[in-house]
């Protein structure tokens, strides 16, 4: 590895320590515990809202999708 590359990498790691420590790979979603908890709560909020509004339960294993108005 060239000196220049080593220098760039060390500067980058210094500038972005959190990102540099994360493992790579598209299937991984490494997060610190606070970030993970916040994302989990957000997912549940989105899900609960959808099942309270657009995905209406009609019986066991049966739902109705409420069509939304065209907004785009």
């Amino acid at each position: 590895m060239s000196e220049l590359r080593r220098l760039i990498r060390s500067l980058w790691r210094e500038a972005m320590p959190a990102r540099a420590l994360r493992p790579r790979g598209i299937r991984r979603r490494p997060r610190d515990p606070g970030e993970a908890a916040a994302l989990r709560a957000l997912s549940l909020r989105i899900g609960r809202r959808a099942f309270a509004t657009r995905l209406v339960k009609q019986g066991p294993r049966a739902y109705r999708l409420v069509s939304s108005p065209r907004t785009l």
Binding site: L55, R61, Y63
Partner: protein
Amino acid sequence: MSEDPLLVRARADLAALKDLASPLEVQLRTAAVIARVLGKTGDSVVVVGGSAVSFYTGGAYLSRDVDLVTSVSARRIAEVLPLLGFERHDGAWVHVETDVVVDFPAPPLAGDPARLTRVDTDEGPIQIIGIEDLLVDRLNAVVHWNDTEAREWCIAILALHRDLDSAYLQARAGTEGVAEELQRVTAEASTLGPRLGR
């Protein structure tokens, strides 16, 4: 010779979806139109994979494509999909107006056909793989591929839904060797507040 009215209406229904903002809604309604056309011979069409996760999480998870398992032959699919406005790109079907990507994983369905979820849409009904079978599929990804993303979505699904067939889920998880992981994600999900009612 005039075109089949079923195909004309299906093509118009799909084109009309391009103005919708919700990706989940566009995917489900697209699947319903395809099921209406492919299923007219009595064949089943079932949503599986990421788009099923998307449904059971109420759209919190966004799937890149719609995976449909069907008993319809690949030849018949290749005849019909272009008539509905789809083009073939790298093995998947892409709708030219909505950009919805549809894929057809090889059958059989990796789950119990008696436990499918039915969703009625303006375009007709669509069937989705049973929640228990989907969970087992995702737990396999967690255990065998170390798929931490899938683990999060298992927890979300378990936290959102309580109308699961626990006995069936545990039996399938045991058969697949993912029972311990099921216990762990269930425990984590139980700390996340009330689940949806029946």
